[in-house]
Symmetry: C2
């Protein structure tokens, strides 16, 4: 397979213009990208080529019917300058789960994995080595086929682009527990990384920001009584010494960080529970002092401690803990990702 990837190198690298000590998140792009087109019922030869504009007909279905899915992953450097990926096959599987729901063709494992590895080799110098930075990887697929008729397209594009990136959130995160808007329907596409799920969150998130919050915690669309997840993170709640997270469902993304954290926590002897969490329970725990921590977990933000939350016009602050679960778990997962400790799970993959 590897030999079947066509490589077109950039004439002059842009890397000298990048300040690796001050990286933003996801807005500086590496020299190359992988591109593979689906037409006549088959994926064509993948090409690694300069990160460059895509030309699309105005009738391409991506512009009209939202057939668009993506993934988010990271590549890390260890102390020996090896390149590491974290559970990349899980991203590939989830991309295909999203693809199935959005009627986008399945991407073969070889194109995804060999394409990604080849791209990381070509752009090896773009993988940041400093603490807290990484190469954010964005695989995505969308409909290029044409027609003003609401039906699946017959042509698609799969692209992997990368962006050397610093931290996702700067500082403390304050969240608002949503009571009116919703992210996902029962029987909908909430569990897929479908583009449309994200745009749908922007307006309610802006309303929350206008009130001084950074993020929305979504609740079920029917009763708004149960905690679901955040915009790009699953949510963990620590009540006394138990770490709780909502079960996944067709409304909630099955986060790779989430399931890794659950595993690491269990193995570290932390009591975990995967069950529905009512907002009432969280508010009650906040009031009586049993609510010790809340944090988001996701590839982009890794673990993002929540400093406080708003609900029904009230604000609740979380205590500041020494040796929090969030800090312990973040260190553990980051150490595994960057090859600082043993990986008993077989999660990391050398490129």
């Amino acid at each position: 397979m590897s030999s079947q990837i066509e490589i077109q190198r950039i004439e002059k690298s842009k890397i000298a213009s990048v300040d690796f000590n001050n990286l933003p998140f996801g807005s500086v792009y590496s020299d190359h990208m992988l591109e593979c087109n689906f037409k006549n019922g088959a994926w064509q030869t993948p090409v690694i080529k300069p990160f460059s504009p895509i030309s699309l007909d105005p009738s391409s279905k991506i512009f009209h019917y939202g057939q668009s899915i993506f993934e988010g992953m990271k590549a890390y450097k260890d102390a020996e300058n090896n390149t590491l990926l974290f559970r990349p096959l899980d991203n590939w599987k989830r991309l295909n789960k999203s693809a199935e729901r959005l009627m986008i063709p399945q991407i073969p494992e070889e194109i995804f994995m060999e394409g990604l590895k080849a791209l990381l080799k070509v752009d090896n110098d773009w993988i940041p080595t400093n603490e807290g930075s990484s190469l954010y990887i964005r695989p995505f697929m969308f409909a290029t086929g044409s027609g003003f008729h609401a039906s699946p397209a017959n042509e698609y594009k799969f692209i992997i682009a990368t962006a050397p990136s610093g931290a996702y959130f700067a500082g403390k995160v304050k969240v608002l527990i949503e009571e009116k808007y919703a992210r996902a329907a029962n029987g909908g596409v909430g569990y897929a990384k479908a583009g449309g799920n994200y745009a749908a969150q922007f307006y309610p998130t802006q309303l929350a920001m206008d009130k001084g919050y950074n993020q929305v915690i979504w609740t079920d669309d029917n009763t708004h009584q149960f905690i679901e997840e955040a915009g790009a993170m699953n949510i963990f709640i620590r009540i006394n010494d138990t770490l709780i997270t909502s079960p996944t469902s067709d409304r909630i993304l099955d986060g790779i960080t989430r399931k890794s954290i659950l595993q690491i926590a269990e193995d570290a002897g932390i009591q975990t529970e995967v069950r529905k969490i009512s907002v009432g329970e969280v508010v009650e725990a906040a009031k009586n002092g049993n609510l010790k921590e809340m944090f988001g977990a996701g590839t982009a933000a890794v673990i993002s401690p929540i400093a406080g939350f708003g609900y029904q016009e009230n604000d609740y602050e979380l205590p500041v803990l020494e040796n929090s679960f969030a800090a312990q778990l973040k260190k553990k997962i980051t150490d595994i990702q960057t090859n600082k400790v043993a990986d008993p799970y077989g999660w990391r993959i050398f490129v």
Copy 2:
């Protein structure tokens, strides 16, 4: 305003290659399109130019976060070769309602209306004159601004493209009343013409097609007990001599055909009801013979009579009526649209 539109004409029209007697729906495109870009916080000068590919950075948010909305309208020719639009300001208003929910900037009335009229003048010859055909008009807006960060873009594109089109559905429509999947969440974006709403319907629709149906009738995501709408049509149900349609909500598109049909029906002395319709009521009416008609109403399909529906593994057929409400109402609305009868409502606009 009109004078501020820049016009770049195509060198050689493609019109001679089009068979206007055998038009598909929405897949043959006229020579020109209107394009207007939003950047630095403002809409730039609109340009009418050849219908031609759009070049976008791979990091454009349209590819990642689904910030994409559209409208669907039609232009008609009357017997004197005048060009007519049907309630176009309602499309403009709805586009801006969608825009607000998706955090896309509002498009000014002048750019939408004057741009559309100018485009229709430039491509006047593309407006079909034969019965049952029309020029399908597709205004759409999407995020062009860049970044692998789930937040609204800072640059957008507004385009109006057109396609001379024949009928949307060929033949009788059989529908399946959905029991598992859903189109929209409470507090979600179902009422917006957001791209993501359409891709989300493809998979369940394909499952229905595999069982021999053409379309899905969506029900509420919580109980699946109430009729909402179809993929691109609102639904009307005639029980005995009463014509019923669901109220609009944040899950249901406020269809322009729907509200026009309600008005025309009332003025024709047909008893109408806008209220929740339970699936049980429809099945019951089908069983005891009170269910006389079901039809979809939307710009693309105009009025699309439903021949039968499936629910819980059972199939129900609808009677074939002489002088059905569907036929009467379709004739009336089409006659208004094409200037064959008086328009007491002020719905049609001459270009």
